[in-house]
Amino acid sequence: MDAFLISKLAFMVAVGVASFAASAALGWLFAKQPERLRVALWWCLAVILALCCAWVNGGWPLPPRESQQWIGYVLLFAALLRSIPVPTAQLISALASATFGLLVTLLPIAQNGWDPVPFGSWFFAGLLSFLLVRMVLHREFETASLRAPLLLVFPLLVTAVLVFFAGSAMLAELAIAGAVAVAAAYFAVRSSVLGRGFVEITLLFHFLLLLNCSIYADLPPWLAWLQWIVPALVILAGRLLRLQKGMTRHWQYAVTIAGLGVAECLVGVLFYWVVKPTVPF
């Protein structure tokens, strides 16, 4: 058991170190080119997360046989699309990569007897909720504040706990690895803005983990959806409060972080109450 836990910890440390080192190196290389740094960062993140998926899945099958084996490919596709220096490609990158991600996740179960109606419902509901959350969160990453990575990292850590007790230790491991990679990248280049591409890759990764767990494991779909929209709800509530109360930006940040903590705790409590998890082994 010790060897097993040590191997998992070593994996997380390796992800953190690789992400930190790669981001720091890119930060130094593109110190005076912030736009190129942002492009390099999202590629770095996509590659690291894809390698994490390959490690956890026990290989990099081509073509992938299972939906979770597609996650790395979807992230690399998103990074590629985002890199095309054509305004249309940038505009549709989120739509195209989310569509790709949804199709490769839903098709395996659709082939096992799903009607077109549930398939269509899952597809369009998933696509809409991804695009809406991305739209709300994108604006929050135009500064280099600590709040930005917290909005990405903290939900991933909570998702790891939900997903673990919903039956998938593998997806939980991926969620933690993702959180570590994002946090390490932020700390490596914290004076720089992470950029929308970086945010898009992280959101896509989080979205696909929740989607896989709600379809193929035992995470209740409504709970997965709630966990997905929590950061966006918190941001919207913060904006509303700021408008109403005339808060300073500093107070708005503090309220957002506190709100995120409270909202994630509520999701955790709901999950415990509905699923009644126990330790698997």
Partner: protein, 190 residues
């Protein structure tokens, strides 16, 4: 007189052989079991079974045993290990991914009679969406009339597969690669 006796005997022989035709047994899912065990942390075994999920047919031809056929399938989500959280894990994408791969199947490709009580069957085992050939030794337990007057037969086999060969790699080596299976089938035909 001699000729008519010989003819009668010959006709009798023909009738006797024409009635020894291939018999198809329908697998009784309630009386059939698929059991497995996997080493856990090198300390103990995790035992489990597929409860009531085994179906299929066994076609036997006493005159030509090599023409017999075995066609079995198990619904992977009937897995039972006595602990719901563990079953959730095994059915999840970590291991069997039952929602994507709902069936485990075995289709024989060759049957060889070893003796009256034993057969060697080679076939394609499809597990987790991967198909690989396996060869198993099958023991005949018995044959007789069931409570409903149907003819029942029971067979049993034990074999081991490596789950990594079927793409089930998560948790190695803490959870063993070798999965030891016991398949006990009761078939019936009216």
């Amino acid at each position: 007189m001699k000729k008519s006796i010989v003819t009668a005997l010959f006709l009798g022989w023909l009738v006797a052989h024409s009635t020894i035709a291939a018999e198809t047994f329908q697998v009784n899912p309630i009386e059939s079991f698929v059991l497995f065990k996997v080493n856990r942390l090198g300390i103990s075994y995790v035992y489990g079974r597929f409860t009531g999920g085994l179906t299929g047919t066994i076609t036997t031809d006493p005159a030509a045993p090599d023409k017999s056929k075995v066609d079995l399938e198990v619904k992977a989500d009937t897995l039972d290990t006595g602990y719901a959280q563990r079953e959730k894990d095994i059915k999840s994408p970590d291991f069997l991914n039952v929602k994507q791969f709902p069936l485990i199947t075995f289709k024989s490709t060759s049957v060889q009679k070893v003796n009256d009580q034993q057969y060697t069957i080679t076939g394609d085992l499809t597990l987790h969406g991967v198909t690989k050939p396996v060869t198993v030794q099958v023991n005949i337990i018995g044959q007789g009339k069931g409570p409903k007057g149907d003819v029942q037969a029971g067979v049993e086999t034990h074999f081991t597969v490596k789950r990594s060969e079927y793409g089930v790699k998560y948790g190695l080596p803490a959870l063993g690669d070798d999965v030891e299976l016991t398949v006990a089938v009761t078939g019936a035909h009216s």
